[in-house]
Point group: C3
Chain length 340, copies 3
Amino acid sequence: MADQRFFAKAGPFTLAELALRCGAELAAGVDAETCVVDVAALDAAGPEHISFLDNKKYVETFSRSRAGACLVHPDMAKLAPTGMALLLCADAYRSYAKVATAFYPPPPVVPGIATQAVVDPAAVIDASARVEPGAVIASGAEVGARSVIGPNAVVGRGVVIGEDCVIGANSSLSHCILGNRVAIYPGARIGQDGFGFAMGPSGHLKVPQLGRVVIHDDVEIGANTTIDRGAGPDTIIGAGCKIDNLVQIGHNVQLGRGCVIVAQVGISGSTRLDDFVAAGGQAGITGHLRIGAGARIAAQSGVMRDIEAGGTVGGSPAVPMSEWLRQAAALGKMARKKGR
Amino acid sequence: MADQRFFAKAGPFTLAELALRCGAELAAGVDAETCVVDVAALDAAGPEHISFLDNKKYVETFSRSRAGACLVHPDMAKLAPTGMALLLCADAYRSYAKVATAFYPPPPVVPGIATQAVVDPAAVIDASARVEPGAVIASGAEVGARSVIGPNAVVGRGVVIGEDCVIGANSSLSHCILGNRVAIYPGARIGQDGFGFAMGPSGHLKVPQLGRVVIHDDVEIGANTTIDRGAGPDTIIGAGCKIDNLVQIGHNVQLGRGCVIVAQVGISGSTRLDDFVAAGGQAGITGHLRIGAGARIAAQSGVMRDIEAGGTVGGSPAVPMSEWLRQAAALGKMARKKGR
Amino acid sequence: MADQRFFAKAGPFTLAELALRCGAELAAGVDAETCVVDVAALDAAGPEHISFLDNKKYVETFSRSRAGACLVHPDMAKLAPTGMALLLCADAYRSYAKVATAFYPPPPVVPGIATQAVVDPAAVIDASARVEPGAVIASGAEVGARSVIGPNAVVGRGVVIGEDCVIGANSSLSHCILGNRVAIYPGARIGQDGFGFAMGPSGHLKVPQLGRVVIHDDVEIGANTTIDRGAGPDTIIGAGCKIDNLVQIGHNVQLGRGCVIVAQVGISGSTRLDDFVAAGGQAGITGHLRIGAGARIAAQSGVMRDIEAGGTVGGSPAVPMSEWLRQAAALGKMARKKGR
């Protein structure tokens, strides 16, 4: 069970109820009224738990698991141990997300402004929002319904935060507009000046950064990630984007809907990603590029050219994935030859 | 126009005045008394705006722009649309920086110490400085004229901050001395212990880090960047250096004047960069190296050897740029051959 | 001497006492009662200082040093300048760490809770602990003997902090359990949600992250480093691990004892490192891998496969070190041939 110092558990639930919530189908012979009390990993689960199989690496663990119930793709059902109640679903991980949320719903927001918060009289805080101790909110800022401003977070002048947002501890926001259900993780920095200088031997001259950061609905921005505001146009993060920790997003970058940006990626100024682009950890994308919808960028890639929609690339400088794999193979073969 | 919730605009200005401020020359036939009310990007500008052309990628946008006036290099003048008032200049981006600063000057510093700041009685805060709510300033610290300490920033014991500095929200400074006009962005960490351990199988023993971080005038240090203090000698950041977000600078590193360090670069301990070195995003430089003046390091490079003054390198491990390009070409050719 | 604004010096000490403290042996003819007043680098030291020689790059500086005394491996003794008192030791850097700590002991912890801290009545703070101004400590949190919670740090609900810990300024901890003598540097983020989403074209669904971060004794975690809590199992950092700045550690990662993780490394979810693994700066390790004890991973490597105990790898994708070196050599030769 999740540590009760940190998590409050709901339930138990019948398998019928969980199947309904997560869009799964009970396998033949499963008793719909069986109750489970918690989620657990395959190797830790007992008869009172529901688990899930998603990664083929864990098939053997699945076969030996003592879990009472399990979310699993129909193709894997035949590998289940005897007596395990199966909930069949197309995407076991997605179904698990819903089941786990049933057992561990997000805690309700307790409205109110902590006496130790510093809220400018000209800020507008919804009555259902919460402001934690040490948070500092400047004039003209707006905080929407049920949003939470974490301890020691800083919300700058004029910043707009929508409904049901969570602004993490020690994060700072300026020059930005947030939609609804946006989660900013601890230590993220949103809206500071972009890296704009007119370089020259007599000194690098700062260029005023006159844009904003516009973050659409359902975006998550990871811990200690930095997103600079636009230089003139805005920096834009499309709806449903998920951005991991320690990512750098330069001024004027535009992300379409549903992009997935893994930790430590860097995206240079004025580059545009269309919808549902995925970038692996530590990849770098140079400035002023266009990355087509659904493109996939391998971890540590160094992208220096546009990528067409649906393209996959790897390597530094990045090339189409198939070419990168051939490069690695050819290089390996050549090195082994030299070694003889 | 820049969002008035975040920016206060000055002006309008005549073209004569702007040309004077930015060192441009009015092209033949331009009416010096024409007024413009704001800056705008080429594709967004109207007759009342002044824009600029700097990147050749945007020449076509320039040719179709409705901007009333534009800063441009004389070589590009012939591509301008009819009726656009041209301000000719050697470096359009640099001139734009000055024009944009005329329209959007930095806001004046309002002196005072917020009641919710925590300032040790033995700290010395200039009467013209500003300390925002939640900032914590320890004993012996000094804050110079017109400097601003942002909300929830932490200034450690004995830290010296010069004049006209801006210390960002939620940043923390210890064991450091700052010159004038230094900008520390939100979340930057300056002066903590370097990564100094005497490694060994019986445990890694911490080595006291007895140096400081010394930051000279006109330096900018990006959001969530980390600069460790020296182990014995100081870590030194030369005048006019511009350091982007999420950069790591190890103990004892010395940067000369005017270095440009792009986001997510890492510089290991005791390496020295001479004046005006430029390092592209995500480059890594190993420890105890000497990088000559004006050297240029490509993004994602892995520098493992000294670089002579003026050298350019790329790749990991980094080699001279021309060699790196040949490597990439040869590898590509070989891979394509294998693929047949 | 270290800047007295930042450091308080003890001493002087006799060479006999220092030799005893650091496990060194006085070379023949050295006067055990000679006093030294401070540590200093080889090139800065005078007759009243003790220095050390550890890196062969500095042998020449050693030979010309004016240091009164020096910690040195016996093999190097013959290169010493005349009159220098040598303290012979197997590991000069380790001995230096002990000598420097004698001169600059960690400052004593002054117990007490600052009036400007915000400590929930249901938190348990040891009477010998210290809580700095602006720190926010939530209900159920525990802070052990002699631990220090830095200014504006945030300690979440139920977090357990052991004895003699130092929690840096502006850091934030949630969902985590810390052992004794753990140092969390400024701006580190421990225990936030991992990057867990069930991805899909209809939107990426957040998966509840129900584990913790468990940090064992004697761990150091660098500035602005991020460690996500487990998704179900815990994220575990073994005793004695030293983690540098700006490192990303994903959910469910397990580090054995004594791992050394250099700045800007990223370790993806569910990967396990056995004891004493060392990862160089900016290396990336993909998810669900097993890295054997004592493995060494070169800077900027991209590790995509398991590594056996004691293995050394480099390159991206990473290969055994010897193969990587041959690859680089072969590639360089080929590029030079093409260039002719």
